[in-house]
């Protein structure tokens, strides 16, 4: 599974986001992800991909695309 698939799957399965609402440009806050939800999502992505996102700064203003890019940057090639 690539980063986009992992992020999308977690948003749907763990945060109840409708798949139709997810685009690269969608700000995370408009998917009702607040700062607590983002920290939870961070742990879930780390667990799923066995990576470390400790240095990645995440805010609800970031878009789904920005999150995927940040995750991609931490996935070993």
């Amino acid at each position: 599974m690539n980063a986009a698939e992992v992020v999308n799957t977690l948003l749907v399965q763990r945060f109840g986001v409708s798949p139709a609402d997810i685009t690269d440009e969608t700000p995370l806050r408009s998917l009702r992800l607040d700062s607590l939800a983002l920290e939870e999502l961070r742990v879930l992505i780390e667990e799923r991909l066995d990576i470390d996102l400790d240095e990645v700064s995440l805010t609800p203003r970031n878009t789904v695309g920005q999150l995927v890019t940040a995750v991609d940057g931490n996935v070993p090639a």
Partner: protein, 412 residues
């Protein structure tokens, strides 16, 4: 000195029950009055090999379907059960959260252990995978007040709210606290009761070490047998029981059907031991006498008692002795825990709701699994089948680890 006030009758206008005896007040009442063999108790994989490896759980409840993932993710199971029961209670009361005066709606929910299962899971995550794999939502999900805040959020209730933690009397103390908030005029409506869900290997392992729970592993369905000569400990159950209480003039103004009244409340502390009740029952006696005085009723007025009746050797003997001493031998006493299990902090909420139904239906549920009454128990315990009777006043008693005692007086 006693600061005596006029009695205050809070109107009970709604009930919500989610128990191992049934989902919904109607289903639970049907099981506890019409059946005497519990269907909700079974062996649990989580508890495998423990001296007590069974528990009362709620079957056929799809919490994700009812709540949705986005709502459910912010609650451990005890809070989920509270929200489901609160929705039922508010709908039963005919209240509309879109139009009520939300700042005048209080929420008071008791729980003994809160989100212990999530605590457990996260401890396992930290021990196995390190601190960086621990969820950031440990505090909001596990605190005992999480059921109350979840209900507030779900219903948009914006009055005073709190969790109540007095171990196994939490639900009863929550209803009593709501009675006091209504009497003080700080709210018009209070949603009150208890919620608990602790399918936790850690907790049950410890309860086994304490020798507090039944070890009748070969026949879980008969393990919880309150007041029976062969009782050997309680059996934990999960569930939630909530009542909608209103200031009487508030219920009258909207012409709400009143199902019963909460008229008196008394609480006390044994100041005796961490677990064992005062062997003379002085603590529960003080709570019961205070509740009767608060309601301005006499022992002879009480026709029915929904007892704490946990199925431990000491509780049932001490409690029964006190009921006899304070009320006499005439009230029809029951313990409904044979059907629901001991839902710990939820027990008082569930059983107060069942007491409301008993008053309304003039019907006392039988004590399931009571076949040979303990000869040392000097009271009239309803068993085998439900008993029809005429009574205008009923009592709910609860005792909690730590010596927290509570009693409520309810009237028609």
């Amino acid at each position: 000195m006693t600061a005596r006030q006029e009695p205050f009758s809070a109107a009970v206008t709604g009930l919500g029950l989610v128990t191992a005896a049934g989902v919904g007040a109607k289903a639970t009442w049907h099981s506890v009055t019409q059946e005497t063999v519990p269907s909700g108790v079974s062996h649990q994989e989580e508890l495998a090999d423990l001296p007590c490896d069974f528990m009362y759980t709620i079957a056929d409840l799809d919490t994700t379907e009812l709540l949705g993932v986005a709502t459910q993710r912010l609650m451990d199971r005890f809070s989920q059960l509270a929200v489901i029961a609160a929705r039922e209670a508010v709908a039963d009361a005919g209240l509309d959260p879109e139009s009520w005066d939300s700042g005048r709606v209080a929420v008071v929910i008791g729980s003994a252990h809160g989100g212990l299962p999530f605590y457990d899971q996260q401890h396992v995550a930290m021990a196995g995978r390190g601190a960086r794999r621990v969820s950031p939502k440990l505090a909001p999900l596990t605190v005992v007040n999480s059921a109350a805040s979840s209900v507030c959020m779900d219903l948009g209730a914006q009055g005073p709210s709190l969790g109540v933690a007095t171990a196994c009397s939490s639900g009863t103390v929550a209803v009593g606290t709501a009675h006091q908030l209504l009497r003080a005029g700080v709210c018009d409506i209070a949603i009150a009761g208890g919620a608990e869900s602790v399918l936790s290997r850690l907790l049950i392992a410890s309860a086994c070490q304490m020798k507090a729970v039944s070890t009748r592993r070969d026949d879980p369905a008969t393990a919880c047998r309150p007041f029976d000569v062969g009782r050997d400990g309680f059996v934990v159950g999960e569930g939630a029981g909530l009542l909608v209480l209103e200031r009487p003039e508030h219920a009258n103004a909207r012409r709400a059907p009143v199902r019963a009244h909460v008229r008196g409340y008394g609480a006390s502390s044994d100041a005796y031991a961490a677990v064992a009740p005062d062997p003379e029952g002085n603590g529960i006696e003080r709570a019961l006498r205070s509740a009767l005085a608060d309601a301005q009723v006499q022992g002879r007025d009480v026709g029915h008692v929904n007892a704490h009746g946990t199925s431990t050797i000491v509780n049932d003997r001490v409690e029964a002795t006190v009921l006899r001493r304070v009320l006499g031998d005439h009230p029809l006493v029951t313990s409904t825990k044979g059907m629901t299990g001991h839902a710990l902090g939820a027990a008082g909420g569930i059983e107060t709701a069942l007491t409301v139904l008993a008053l309304e239906q003039q019907l006392v549920p039988p004590t399931a699994n009571l076949h040979v009454p303990d000869p040392r128990i000097p009271i009239d315990i309803v068993r085998t089948e439900a008993r029809q009777a005429a009574f205008d006043c009923a009592v709910k008693t609860s005792l909690g680890f730590g010596g927290h005692n509570a009693a409520l007086v309810l009237t028609r």
